[in-house]
Amino acid sequence: MTFEPIQIAWTLLGLFIVFNVGLLLTSTVRKIGARVGKRRGIRFFQPHIDLIKNYSFRTNFSHGIMFYLAPVFRLTGGIGIFVFMPIIYGSAHFSNFSFAGDAILIMYFIFFGTLGMALGAGEGAMPFSAIGISRGLSQVTAAEIPLVLAFLAVFIQNNSFSITEIVAAQQGGFLNWTMFTNPIATITAMLAFLGAMMRSPFDIVLAPQEIPVGPPTEFHSSFLGVLSTNRAIFPIAKTILYINLFFGGATNWPVLILKAFLLYMWSVVVGTVFPRFRTEQSIRWFMKYPLILGILSILVLQLG
């Protein structure tokens, strides 16, 4: 694909839309939770207001260079996934900067933010941050193994590392979606999906009743603002990646947002039903069913 400067503007527009969808999804989910508990819950635009407030604090205090860089790394992870991924299939404007090997780069970006955060939270010198980070890194690593296996199965199946080609192969009816052509890989990926969504049963990283806020304990004002910006972008960007790889992509924004909402709700529903795992329980769980299914999905492709 040739590079055109106008593409930057379209990508930024896409990012803006995804950012707002992410914030609204967060408030919607919290509102649904509140209604279940017979409360009215937060306002739909509360995450927006919180973000503006965080950016408009007057004082902040840094613990060092990595403390500064951690939110930046985290945000780079979220934006990195988005920028190199085609958002709307067949759209000249919202294909972003996708290229032949984009899937590999995106897999790298999924892990990138967590590592940056680990260094920064470590420098914050708050014991709870260090505990949260060690839990987070072990859990994300455990979830990443089945995730990569599932992705590899899709790459082998399509003989391609290009997300655009993988989406193209799924066009022409929903029976062509990877969800139906490769169900084992899809199940594996959906189980691994839960691991990075910061929701129960895998929210020991934040564990509000135990290590009050977890890794971001020391992050405040605009540092927290950058982190919350990423909290809006990252889950949606990751969800769009899943839509592209497993659920036939999207040819327009409404379909994309609907699919993103449904996929996001998957982690919410599971989180509402199941209680929290301890770190070793969650690692054991990821090393059991998702890992076996992941290996199976590759074997089926190789032998079948």
């Binding site: 509140a34 409360r39 919180d50 503006i52 407030k53 007057r58 806020v213 405040h220 004002s221």
Partner: protein, 217 residues
């Protein structure tokens, strides 16, 4: 922590090397609050007004109940009162909260912690004082180890009177605080920085075992 822990000292490392430790410099920020930063406002009035609106509509309370009033804060998050709909949320870390509620009497011991927590919050920060204990000592006015008037030690933005104020009065207190912030009068942190010496003198007068740096940011 005791006074001895914050003294400068030399320790021997695992490889036999000497390491100098100065806890006050290593663990804390030694600088006093920067008045310029505390009073920083946008030069464009409408932006400052917008920021003040956002600050007033997003009040994050530090989850720290000091006196018996803590029990009146719990109902606020239940379906009956549900403060979330007013943009009020509860945070477990002072770094991320901007409202500190002193919920009732403050013993000298707790005052020390309250000062530390207050100073760690990023500004602009607001202080809501509940109950008559924070106004004049209330039923503890002649107690040997509680303070009588909170605003000698920390700058209070809004007082909610009562013993104890019911959640309804606390909600009314939040409304007054919101109005105060929207009017640009929620400048407690700037006041604290401006009269820092005076506040510190008062605090040290009552806290005899002062074993922390002057500013805990």
């Amino acid at each position: 922590m005791s006074l001895k822990d914050i003294e400068k000292r030399t320790v021997i490392g695992p490889m036999g090397e000497e390491i100098e430790i100065d806890p006050l410099r290593d663990y804390y920020c030694a600088a006093t609050p920067d008045l310029k930063m505390e009073q920083r406002k946008s030069s464009i009035p409408i932006i400052e007004k917008f920021a003040n609106w956002a600050r007033s509509e997003s009040l994050w309370i530090l989850a720290f109940g000091t006196g018996c009033g803590g029990i009146e804060l719990r109902p606020l998050v239940t379906p009956k009162y549900d403060v979330y709909r007013f943009g009020i949320q509860i945070r477990a870390t002072p770094r991320q909260s901007n409202v500190f509620i002193i919920s009732g009497y403050l013993s000298v011991k707790t005052l020390k912690r309250a000062i530390r927590a207050y100073e760690q919050m990023p500004s602009p920060k607001y202080l809501l004082a509940l109950g008559s204990c924070t106004i004049n000592g209330g039923m503890y006015w002649d107690s040997y180890n509680t303070i009588n008037r909170l605003d000698y030690y920390l700058p209070v933005d809004v007082y909610v009177a009562g013993c104890m104020p019911r959640p309804e009065s606390i909600l009314a207190g939040f409304d007054s605080l919101k109005q105060l912030i929207k009017d640009g009068k929620g400048e407690g942190a700037a006041k604290y920085a401006e009269k820092f010496e005076w506040y510190k003198k008062n605090q040290k007068q009552i806290i005899k075992d002062w074993d922390m740096p002057d500013y805990n940011w």
